[in-house]
Symmetry: C2
Subunit: 362 residues, 2 copies
């Protein structure tokens, strides 16, 4: 595969320019650019630059608002319901997470829920904002239906991701950031493009039966919840996906389940529901971060089953990807993604500044 | 299999008498009896009468306190840290859940964490207490190490269950009550007794490799997290198990991970960590229970993949078990469990009142 690499700053300013070119407010564009670059930096390339064109289209068609700020509709010392005003997801997410942290400073916890939001990038970005305040952070979002519930054959739940971040000592942390489906759709698509079968337990065919054929998953089938089949605990993943929906669409009064539009459709607003939580360990037992560090050490120091694959903790693969980017001096991208985004930029009158010349092979 | 059935009331008073016979305070004994009977009633027989002897032994040996009440150590409008005073788990659980609900009535959410607790039965029992107040309830507990993290070969996490309950209309509800392991240990033991292989994705051998041989799981191996192998998303279940530990042992300053004693050892106190949450939908968008009912209906009315197994929602299997008990006029028990518990009662001078004559075949 041909990869090219680009500095953090370069990609971020490129995304900002593209977004402002279609009318996004400067600081909204920056919020989005920061989340997308952080997605790439952490190795979640499906939630980074790769999706910029979708956000551009959302603002360009007017299906996503370019002006205004989120509004608090209802509030208590520990909770808030926020109207996202159909703004870009990261604008809503940052607003809500800041509010949750503020409340957690005052009463130990902040639980903030938003309706009328849009795609917000990686869930972990918001959860991790709490780490800077030495707090536990959580974030949940509903998404377009792609997952088939246990025993069913129709998609009624999104990949409904959840993230939980907890601070340890010296900047270390636990960062769980996962879809409640067994895998992301992108992984199935990748296998299909390569002509490889997928492992059993990733997706099902249009009849709701597990299949190893990625084509059948992508044409009328769907992803399955974590756990795979009913026998191996897939009903737990199905329950977790619904739990995320309860915290998001149901609690916020947003769209939910099968009523959520697919992202490709721009004929109606997304009205996604999202949930943001901050918990202050200071309100509980002293020594939280020491115990967190110990818990992480216990696991990282375990004797591995296979000597070549050390035991790691949630957040470690992303840490390794960040290290890799730092060593390279930039974020590696598929040359095709860069070319596509440069083309997209040209169409909206933005100078295609992403370089395609620093080719590295992988 | 030979089953016998016993009324709700009969079992409950039997457990109460056994617990008070070894010195448990009357209302503590009742709290325990209620949780265990509810476990059986809901079909979670591994967390019901079947475990009474363990609680009796805990109190009898003095490793679990028989006197006192839980104490609030630290408190804010929305949070509390509780010292469980080494009392029976259900005594601590009820205390904490009531406190969480009280806080949720005042500020929309209550997040209560306890250290110095003991086994509390089914997690769902506590989460469901919020349903009576039309609130969302959650409950988490850490447990003795039985689960091998992804890539490892040693057990460092418990089955660490989590429960989330959400009220719908007319007494209906969503009740997720699940271990973060693929299955419970009891399921593996059952297959071993029958000489059956287990499905791939339930447990691993002492080298940390997935196995279908229940013997290898039970002798030096362990359960695996939801998701099974790393390829099918087992690292997500591993992350969820650690998340539960963060909310319990780490936040509460209780024992955690590999430091938790096995339940069979009574040489030291358990000092389990537990977490109880209540969230008041009134603080968020109006119409919560209508949307909950709709979400449940959407799923229950899905066209099933196999016409014989309808699509259900979390909490429905338990609802069916309760219905079955009501139709039978009692809770069905294995005759061997009843005989064993009657023997246990005799040893502590309690009249073995459970009937063994109402045999039904299954």
């Amino acid at each position: 595969i041909s990869l090219t690499w680009t500095s953090h700053v370069e990609v971020q300013s490129f995304i900002e320019r593209c977004m402002t070119a279609v009318g996004t407010k400067q600081h909204h564009a920056r919020s989005l650019a920061e989340v997308l670059v952080e997605g790439d930096h952490r190795g979640h390339y499906s939630h980074g630059l790769n999706r910029m064109d979708m956000y551009v289209k959302d603002v360009q068609t007017g299906i996503c608002a370019k002006d205004g700020e989120p509004v608090v509709e209802k509030e208590s010392a520990a909770t808030a319901l926020v109207d996202g005003q159909n703004l870009l997801g990261p604008v809503v997410g940052n607003f809500c997470m800041n509010l949750a942290i503020k409340k957690a400073k005052e009463v130990g916890i902040g639980w903030v829920v938003a309706h009328s939001s849009n795609h917000y990038g990686i869930a972990g970005y918001y959860a991790m904002q709490a780490l800077k305040e030495n707090m536990i952070g959580m974030s949940f979002t509903n998404t377009s239906p792609l997952v088939v519930p246990t025993r069913a054959k129709e998609c009624t739940l999104g990949t409904n991701p959840m993230s939980v971040a907890a601070p340890a000592k010296d900047g270390d942390s636990f960062v769980l950031d996962m879809a409640t489906s067994a895998v992301a759709l992108g992984k199935v698509e990748l296998h299909e493009r390569r002509g490889d079968p997928i492992p059993e337990g990733w997706g099902c065919d249009p009849q709701g039966k597990l299949t190893t054929d990625p084509k059948r998953v992508l044409t009328g089938g769907g992803l399955v919840p974590i756990g795979g089949s009913e026998a191996t605990g897939g009903y737990k993943g199905y329950g977790l996906g619904m739990m995320v929906e309860v915290f998001c669409g149901i609690l916020a009064g947003a769209q939910y389940s099968k009523y959520i539009r697919t992202w490709k459709v721009t004929d109606r607003v997304a009205n996604l529901g999202q949930c943001f939580v901050a918990i202050n360990p200071e309100n509980f037992a002293p020594g939280f971060s020491d115990r967190m560090s110990d818990l992480l050490s216990i696991h990282r120091n375990l004797d591995p089953s296979d000597p070549d694959t050390p035991v790691i903790a949630a957040g470690d693969p992303e840490r390794m990807n960040i290290k890799k980017c730092e060593d390279m001096g930039g974020i590696p991208y598929h040359i095709s993604v860069v070319k596509y985004m440069n083309e997209c930029a040209k169409n909206i009158g933005v100078k295609p500044l992403l370089p395609c010349d620093k080719i590295v092979s992988n």
